[in-house]
Symmetry: C2
Subunit: 247 residues, 2 copies
DNA sequence: TTTTCACATTAACATTTATTACCAGGAATG
DNA sequence: CATTCCTGGTAATAAATGTTAATGTGAAAA
């Protein structure tokens, strides 16, 4: 049930069977959720760390004028910030984008891991560092890249992340996001997102159809997007070249 | 020497004298640096956590076309990410913006704090959570707010952060950033930044002159910018109202 | 089948922001 | 004292993106 998470963490360092078991046993039973529900909403007190078992979610904020800004996509195997329970109130919401199952890690279970399983603790800290680095890369993306490069960069990232979690087949992945949801993350209008997607398709870089992303020209796409996967910190570099060469 | 840091951390929870002393003693002697130098550069291996003693710095990345994107401003009392030493290589650089002094916290000293000073550890974790939340707010800012609101929002944030670190006088703070540096953070051209600053000045919201930011209409500015300080997580709420009412 | 609905697409037009290029003032420098 | 450089300010034009509104399309629902 937590293969995707383990698969992701092991890009940082291999885990002992003991660590894998401890992590598995720390989880609360997964809860089934549907598109449109919030895992947790802005202003609420965070009681657990959440883990996406399957399905997709996003971090988002609502602005004064009702617009939604998506700040991160969570795919299967992704964790919410493991320190989150330190805070009194959430400053953003986590919303479900597809039918999904979400498990939790109670605070005490985490404290126990910190105290007794240093390797696993390091892997979890690594995971939050990657989340933070991803946030920084998104900031650069929105601040300095035009719409077409911006979307291209997002697709590069999502494909690598999916690959790392074992969720790709060749150059394809399930990508259950509407153009509206892409727009809210990229800070674009849906109309413009649509224009840009067509352009990327016309240029033979990728297609996005029927909830599936297919990248046709990985090298062309990464060059166009100025994509450098360093920020994903796949520290076991043999695997990094597997990943990137293999795509 | 670490008053600003302590001042900031105590917005989360009060610290025992013992914790204050431990933190003080963990520091390496501050190094003097000048504008244009890098504390650490992209690709380098992070050996320490850094602390700004005085002066300003920024996190930034250089893009393929040579543009610089600033992802965070570091003012006195700000720490780099305390987990950073887990990573093999920096995915961004930290550059000095003014004459400054920078101290370090060695990895072992931090490990010792984690093992023996839980209150202080919580405060340090809180600090990184705030940094991350700030990054998310910047993402929203760049993605969804027009240039004038965007700059206004930045100034709101900087004034509150400075206030929290004890660096304001009334409605004023030292803000040693050029319009170029503001532009690189906001994803705007310098020309447009200049136009917008004039507009904010004309409307009586603030002036930025001679390295000093003076806010003339705090309430007007926060309303215009849609600024909600929740994301700064000043958990001791009595202090929050002090801060915000008092400005 | 028909209807409905969510999502994608298209077009015309408006607005924001970038680009380029030039000027002005003040501080540092020789 | 002249010079240079950094920073801020201005204007004309171009490019990117937003807005509004209408249409198409395919899958689910009735």
């Amino acid at each position: 049930m937590i293969e995707t998470l383990l698969c992701r963490l092991e890009n940082f360092q291999p885990l002992a069977d003991e660590d894998r078991r401890v992590l598995q046993q720390a989880l609360t039973p997964p809860v089934r959720m549907d598109r449109g529900e919030d895992v947790i909403s802005e202003g609420e007190r965070p009681e657990h760390v959440h883990l996406m078992i399957d399905g997709w979610a996003c971090r988002y904020k609502l602005l004064a004028d009702g617009q939604r800004h998506i700040m991160a996509y969570l795919m299967p195997g992704d964790l919410c910030d493991i320190h989150i329970t330190l805070l009194n109130r959430m400053d953003h919401s986590i919303g479900i984008l597809t039918r999904a199952h979400v498990a939790g890690i109670p605070r005490q279970a985490l404290d126990h891991i910190y105290a007794h399983h240093p390797e696993l603790t390091r892997a979890l800290f690594w995971s939050t560092l990657v989340d933070e680095a991803t946030l920084r890369e998104w900031l650069v993306n929105e601040g300095h890249r035009p719409a077409d490069q911006r979307l291209a960069h997002l697709f590069c990232e999502l494909l690598v992340r999916a690959r790392v979690a074992g969720l790709t087949e060749n150059h394809c992945m399930e990508l259950p996001l509407t153009q509206d949801e892409l727009s809210d993350a990229m800070g674009l209008s849906t109309v413009h997102t649509n224009r840009v997607l067509q352009k990327l398709r016309r240029e033979g870089l990728l297609t996005l159809r029927g909830r599936t992303l297919s990248v046709h020209d990985w090298q062309g796409l990464t060059e166009f997007a100025d994509f450098d996967p360093l920020y994903l910190h796949l520290e076991r570099s043999e695997r990094m070249s597997d990943l990137l060469g293999g795509i």
